[in-house]
């Protein structure tokens, strides 16, 4: 029998408890134990960013976090972005700007974009490209993604007025 560790954490504002093995990644537990399959596995080694979640507000690759490490942490996943079944403005802009094709990279891009816009509501194109460099897309090409982030910034600024 493999030993399992009990972990208590907060995901998308809700207290969550689970049992996991030390070797399991946060990504694995999110998807397979907790049924939160929005975070995707692209590479499982930190290169693609499809598994990006916010850990205590910082964007991280959840494939490179051990689930046992998140005891007491605050985690936000893509599932936590929509409110009352209304999409978050970033999600809406990715749809409207056709910033996705297969969609595997999309949750990761949106989480990184959220982390960026939370800190810098009006980022330059250079800043967007630099901060999103840890997210890869092999379908869409980056221009539409960058445009969706720029449009998200405008829309969020409008909502905050």
């Amino acid at each position: 029998m493999v030993r399992k560790t009990h972990v208590a954490t907060t995901i998308n504002g809700e207290p969550v408890e689970f049992l996991c093995e030390a070797r399991q990644s946060l990504l694995e537990v999110l998807r397979e134990t907790l049924g939160l399959t929005g975070s995707k596995e692209g590479c499982n080694n930190g290169n693609c960013g499809a598994c990006t979640v916010l850990l205590d507000g910082q964007p991280v690759d959840s494939c490179l976090v051990l689930a046992v490490e998140v005891e007491g942490a605050q985690i936000t996943t893509i599932e936590g972005l929509s409110k009352d079944s209304r999409l978050h403005p970033i999600q809406q802009c990715f749809l409207e700007d056709a910033a996705l094709q297969c969609g595997i990279c999309t949750p990761g891009f949106i989480m990184s974009a959220k982390a960026l816009l939370d800190r810098d509501p009006n980022p330059s194109e250079h800043a967007i490209r630099f901060q999103l460099a840890g997210n890869l897309c092999r379908c869409t090409g980056y221009d539409k993604i960058i445009r969706a982030v720029q449009d998200s910034a405008k829309r969020m600024a409008g909502q905050n007025k």
Binding site: V2, R3, T5, E21, A22, R23, S25, N44, N45, G46, N47, G49, T52, L55, Q58, P59, V60, D61, C63, L64, V65, L66, V68, E69, E71, S112, A115, F130, Q131, L132, A133, G134, N135
Partner: protein
């Protein structure tokens, strides 16, 4: 990935005794951006992983007139997010900003970058250029090692059974001094350095003459390389292009790189010179109080 035992240490002593008990079957975990990949790909095995991110000494830093004491587990984003560090140690910030992308920087520590001891590690030339002292705790007590002596072979270093890197000590940022780090990769972000170059200089009050300098290279030898002779040769020289070119020639001459998919031996030797020259220019300009950005 094989299963392992996971422990969270809250004091240095606790971490040391956990590590000492398991010897080379135990690994320290800071950001995990090297370790988790290595365990998953069976490049390393461990029976015990000790998370040290709850040890205050390892996740704090303090910047005083005596210098910077940087906890070994402090992640990159906290380093470049601190305006006082950006001002005092811009070369450290150059390194912290390019280790992986943002998600990696949220977790990756400078201590982990050093302890992983890759020949291509992007912080080590910077640490050598700034003449950093490594603080180590172990079963026999505490000791210090100059960072230029820390790495011994690819993936190997001076840490012995049960030992833990606790802090990196940067000397006080002297007046008229500046540091810079530059690397070459085929894309703009997220790749392993083909060559990396770190430079630190201290100028005279007029900003014309180099009083002291330290140069270091990554990815041109089995360990990051301190260019002791080329550094010493800069002392007393005018901070001019001719001087920078001499340092570049010395760097190319001392580099002993390998051929691999990222670059041939000849290419890397050439790059070592180019990057040492450019990082030296960056360090000199910063020492004069001018702005210099490695990314343009």
């Amino acid at each position: 990935m094989n299963d392992f035992e996971f422990q969270t240490a809250t004091t240095v002593d606790e971490a040391v005794s956990l590590l000492a008990a398991k010897g080379d079957r135990a690994r320290v975990l800071t950001g995990g951006t090297d370790l988790i990949v290595q365990l998953r790909e069976n490049l390393r095995e461990a029976d015990l992983v000790v998370d040290v991110k709850k040890i205050p000494e390892l996740i704090q830093y303090s910047l005083t007139e005596k210098g910077l004491r940087l906890g070994a587990g402090v992640p990159c984003y906290r380093i470049y997010g601190d305006e006082a560090i950006r001002k005092a140690y811009p070369g450290l910030v150059d390194s912290a900003r390019i280790i992986g992308g943002w998600q990696i920087q949220s977790r990756a520590s400078i201590g982990g970058n050093l302890c992983n001891s890759s020949p291509a590690a992007d912080s080590i030339p910077t640490l050598i250029a700034y003449n950093v002292i490594c603080h180590i705790a172990g079963p026999e007590g505490r000791r210090t090692v100059p960072v230029a002596e820390f790495c011994t072979a690819p993936g190997r270093n001076v840490l012995k059974r049960g030992e833990l890197l606790t802090e990196l000590e940067f000397p006080a940022a002297a007046r008229h001094s500046g540091g810079a780090y530059l690397r070459f990769i085929p894309r703009n972000e997220m790749d392993i350095a083909v060559v990396g170059a770190g430079a630190w200089v201290q100028l005279d009050a007029k900003g014309e003459t180099i009083e002291r300098a330290r140069l270091a290279l990554a990815a041109v030898a089995p360990t990051p390389l301190f260019l002791a002779d080329a550094s010493a040769a800069l002392a007393g020289k005018p901070a001019t292009e001719a001087t920078f070119k001499e340092a570049a020639a010395a760097a190319s001459a001392i580099a002993r790189p390998i051929n691999d998919k990222r670059g041939t031996l000849e290419y890397r030797k050439h790059l070592a010179g180019v990057l040492i020259e450019r990082s030296l220019v960056g360090a000199v300009r910063r020492a004069r109080g001018e702005k210099w950005d490695p990314h343009v």
